[in-house]
Symmetry: C2
Subunit: 358 residues, 2 copies
């Protein structure tokens, strides 16, 4: 699914420059442009294409419509030594979440833990980016976000939760972190569209029609099933609910069911998305060296377990680090839709178009 229909790969640096310039030309401040660029390029390098470069045109539309402010005055209040609230002033969720995790990390270094509820925010891309930001400074990080309704409740026949992601990253000495970044549905919404575009049946137990019945036909899909499908979807729905409680209620925001849809048509009213980030300092529980030794032993045990034929056992994140190394060397692929979208942005904003690597 992730192969471009035509080979068109661009160097990471070129993509980075293009995204940042496009945002600056669309009247965002330096900090916002920097944060959005960092998150989109991180996702694209790791192969999380649903949350990478393809989101830029959407964000420019949201800026233009006024839904997202390119010059937010975000305000952080540290309410207690380990906690705080960040009012994101309807700016980019990426800037809000990086800022929140930066405060959470500072608190975790000082008192062992730090958590920040973020309100009045917007779509933040891939949750894993913010958990990784904690791991990059030696902390365990978690990030959560709510979103508008796509996913059924268990036994429900109409959507309620968003795909409400859970991200968890733990720092590994001398290596990339342990990184779990997952939606609480089995598949993301755009997977349905991708399958529809190529006329392929969906896997079983991932989506339902307008009556709430499981369907494998992309054109019949009205909702996603929570992780666990018809039989065990109470687990996925419960996890989605946990994400909702952390993201919206602690920030005093509307729950996902009441959010304006990401896709519009209203692109001028701020959506009031909530995030929640948590940082934990391993050395606040045991010696840092003990933690690192235990984590390394665990990962060595995991990676040496026998795999099914023609397959391999990986830790969460392993596939992504491999993709990142490959894309850093060979460039980041743009499929034909993204090639067209990036060409159109270049022409509208007067930027030099992206060129494929030789």
């Amino acid at each position: 699914m992730k192969q471009p229909t035509q080979e068109f790969r661009v160097p990471v640096d070129d993509l980075e420059h293009f995204i940042k310039k496009a945002l600056i030309r669309s009247a965002t401040d330096e900090a916002s442009a920097e944060a959005v660029t960092r998150a989109l390029v991180t996702a694209s390098r790791m192969g999380t294409d649903s949350h990478g470069l393809r989101l830029l045109p959407h964000y420019l539309k949201a800026l233009q419509g006024g839904r997202i402010s390119g010059h937010p005055e975000m305000r952080f209040s540290r309410r207690l030594p380990a906690t705080g609230f960040l009012d994101a002033d309807n700016g980019f969720g990426h800037l809000a979440a990086y800022t929140a995790m930066s405060h959470a990390g500072d608190m975790a270094e000082e008192v062992g833990l730090g958590a920040v509820a973020v309100g009045h925010s917007s779509h933040f891309g891939a949750a894993g980016c913010y958990a990784m930001a904690a791991a990059e400074r030696g902390l365990i990080g978690m990030a959560f976000c709510n979103s508008d309704p796509f996913v059924l409740l268990h036994e429900g026949k109409a959507p309620f939760h968003g795909t409400n992601p859970i991200a968890f990253a733990a720092p590994v000495a001398g290596d990339s972190p342990y990184l779990l970044d997952m939606a609480t549905s089995s598949v993301p919404w755009n997977r349905v569209q991708q399958y529809g575009a190529i006329g392929r049946e969906l896997p079983d137990q991932v989506a339902a029609d307008a009556r709430g019945e499981v369907t494998r036909q992309p054109d019949e899909v009205a909702a996603l099933l929570p992780l666990g499908g018809s039989d065990f979807g109470f687990k996925g729905a419960g996890l989605g609910g946990m994400v909702e409680v952390l993201s919206s209620t602690l920030a005093g925001m509307l729950n996902g069911f009441r959010l304006l849809p990401m896709g519009g048509p209203d692109m001028s009213t701020p959506r009031g998305i909530g995030h929640f980030v948590l940082a934990m300092n391993p050395a606040a529980f045991t010696e840092a060296s003990t933690f690192q030794a235990c984590l390394s032993d665990y990962l060595a045990d995991l990676r040496s377990r026998p795999a099914m034929a023609d397959s391999e056992v990986m830790a969460p994140g392993d596939r992504e680090w491999r993709c990142r190394a490959q894309r850093d060397a060979e460039g980041i692929p743009l499929d034909s839709a993204n090639q067209a979208a990036y060409a159109a942005m270049a022409s509208e904003l007067g930027l030099e178009p992206l060129k494929p690597m030789a």
Copy 2:
């Protein structure tokens, strides 16, 4: 599955007295007996029969063998204002986890968050008990625990993680909490045994044979599949791994793959189980009244969503509160195996046998 084969129900108080006396007669101290009783009776009242009264004979065996100490000297060190480590001295996991959550709650009231890593512990029953203990004092609680290998990795063909549970509870004003308590496999191990005993096929995508291939025949089962099954088990396995990292590495314990099996035969060597508990003070993020209003709105939205025919949409915990009300009124059922086990304990320990309600 949960119906007793013969109607034998006992009043909650009688069960409570029996369990506590059985533990005291088996040389446990008051605090340990109190904690184990509280956890087992809580689980049995709520209908979590896999983690309720049926575990008592196992615990007595572990006490007798010396694996679990009935007189532990648990030591808590608060390493930073929001964090600490509890050395459980190979005592009961129930006492360790209630003690850890009590410290975590104190820290959360003081600095906003509190987390405790627990080492040198043992099986703690249902994770939900400890998350609930936080919710009972107005805090959000989470509890995690590792266990010995039963569950495949994604693409793996041999067990690696335990059923590593995630519990999350949020306090609801004037009502029972929002309570999610889930294994990161689709089903618990004893579900396979229950299906086997009545000659029933398992649901699809929950268990595998010795080659790692999905099977629905209980007698072929060698491992459980992670939540998400063959296609999306990387999510369940990733969550199980998150639980493992929190439970064992932060406590400096062996990861679950290296733990001695719960079932023996070695009942004398302490297992070195790890737990992790986290408490969060909602008022440390927003006004307590705002949090409560948002959470109530969310639950009202959730419970009013349309359900499939002959079904209803519930919040996590709703089924359990209903069962608890019923069992508090009508007694807690013992199936024939538990009737026999409880009669045997009564006779061995010189206790008055449990009598069914009239």
